[in-house]
């Protein structure tokens, strides 16, 4: 096996070297990271490449953690992140290339809270939502709905969406242990659509299948829908930035151009098409 493996490796590396030599032309950018951002990153890459045919961009997902690890061992140029980089990851980056990665905010994502279309409840305050998700409120009756137990659907704890919701809506408290965790926003939506007494959350870019609630900041304020206008105005309370991280040493030439482009008007138009929300003017390029 060892013999075989090393022989195989030798052949493979020869083949790979040939291919690499052929494809190592200037202007090749690799993007890796959050699966939340992979569809958007792909659209960006396509649009950009159609205008700059000499630049080649390759996009893969795998997760924010995977992307940051790849950034550190230099197997990717850009890292898509659905959460902020953590101190330990910053420390590893510094060890790897002497500096912190540069952070770019690239778009906004409003998080919707979904319930079944049959559910009479139309709006909730942020505090009520927090109580439902951390397990204090267990019956729809307590928030003006029918007398039925609430089923809570959450995301995998590895997802950026989960962390964001936990920090900003639950103020850092744990989710109820009984919360079912779904491996993707689509799974949450599907579950809520099929469960009359379910409640879940997820990116606003997803949407169909269930009803998204109006959210009230507190008892006195009006319920706000997660529309682009409301998210950008800041009246919709649950939203987040999505990020791209880059090794500062590489942030020049093609890569810098690309980053500027996607934070400019053209790039932000793509954001809208995919279903996220564009950056407010002051963050644009």
């Amino acid at each position: 096996m060892k013999n075989m493996t090393s022989n195989l490796l030798r052949c493979a590396s020869l083949a790979a070297a040939l291919v690499l030599a052929a494809s190592a032309q200037a202007g090749s950018i690799t993007v890796k990271g959050s699966d939340t951002l992979v569809v958007l990153a792909q659209k960006w890459a396509e649009t950009y490449m159609s205008k700059h045919p000499d630049t080649k961009i390759q996009v893969t997902g795998g997760g924010t953690g995977t992307g940051l690890a790849a950034l550190q061992n230099k197997s990717t140029d850009l890292c898509n992140a659905s959460r902020k980089i953590k101190p330990t990851e910053q420390a590893t980056s510094i060890k790897a290339f002497g500096k912190r990665p540069t952070e770019y905010k690239v778009c906004l994502d409003g998080l919707s809270v979904y319930v079944s279309a049959d559910n009479p409840v139309k709006e909730l305050t942020v505090a009520q939502i927090a109580d439902i998700f951390n397990g204090k409120t267990t019956n729809w009756k307590q928030v003006g709905g029918p007398d039925a137990r609430i089923t809570v659907y959450s995301r995998e704890n590895s997802s950026g969406t989960y962390e964001f919701f936990k920090e900003h809506v639950l103020s850092g408290k744990d989710f109820a242990a009984s919360a079912q965790t779904m491996p993707g926003t689509a799974a949450v939506l599907q579950a809520v659509a099929k469960d009359k007494h379910g409640i879940g959350y997820g990116g606003a870019a997803y949407g169909a299948g269930a009803k998204s609630l109006k959210i009230k900041k507190d008892d006195a304020s009006p319920g706000v829908e997660p529309t682009e206008e409301n998210v950008i105005k800041g009246t919709y309370p649950i939203w987040r930035y999505l990020y791209i991280y880059v090794n500062p040493a590489l942030d020049k030439g093609d890569i810098a151009n690309y980053l500027n482009w996607l934070r400019g008007d053209e790039g932000q138009k793509v954001v809208k098409d995919v279903g996220y929300f564009p950056l407010p003017k002051e963050f644009r390029k």
């Binding site: 491996p183 599907q190 299948g209």
Partner: protein, 316 residues
Amino acid sequence: MTATDAKANRLDFRSRGFDFASFAFTGITGLATLFILAILAIIIANIVWHGWGTFSWRFLTGSADQDMFDVNKAGVLPMVIGTALRVLVMTIVVVPVGVITAVYLTEYAHSTALTTRVIRGAVNNLAGVPSIVFGLFGLGFFISFIGRGLDGGAAEPLWGKPAIVWASLTLSVMTLPLVIVATEESLRAITPGLREASLALGATKLETIIKIVLPEALPGILTGGILAVGRAGGEVAPILFTGAAYYMRDLPHSLTDQFMDLGYHVFILSTQSPDIEKTRPILFATVLALLLLTLSLNLVAVIVRARVRKRMRASH
């Protein structure tokens, strides 16, 4: 009454008219068999029923670079190619190693020796290692240890990242037992007379194995290879961390690229699709493609194996 009498009584089988117990026993076990087959039929029928509408030549040969979540544009060609590639590389590695191990076990080893027993134990054990542990192993051994080692601190890692080659090697470790067991079975089915005749004519042992035994055992080796491909083709857990990509625009160029995969795509479509209702047809069609691949391979393996077994019974 002595103990022998008691035993004789217990084994007293005189017929007592209509044998209700026999009827019930046959009925229950027969129903259980039927039930299992019915579930299998339901699964297949359900997938074919829902997937057939979208399953077309365009779907099979279409690329995913337009929009992999759009029913009218999405195709599965990159996933089919990715899956085929990783399985191909795996076969190239696992078949020789598996066949040689089987040859050792049947032709050379003393069946009572400790080494033989340990090898057999290891083979059986390998068959039972959870698939996710293979994924961890691939990440820890192939990528972090061998891959990083090959890179040797190079500025841009070539090997130390998920890639087709690592996914394939991980899968080849996983499917090794399948190949060994299938090959061994067919080696044993060959009559000893054939080997003896060859030796008596002056052939050496190695010549006998290469020119007589292995060609005779070819159907069995084939079965093993096909079973391995069928099993590996549908496995997702071992490739999660070793090479599967969520999305890639281009097809992989070299063995150090990542790849899209049919099985992993089924997982993505059923859990991460932006609109589960709209992508449902793609999902079912992708499942159908995957199922066609693995089931047809298994079917072929089953047929070849049945032949081998028939011949084995005939020769003994």
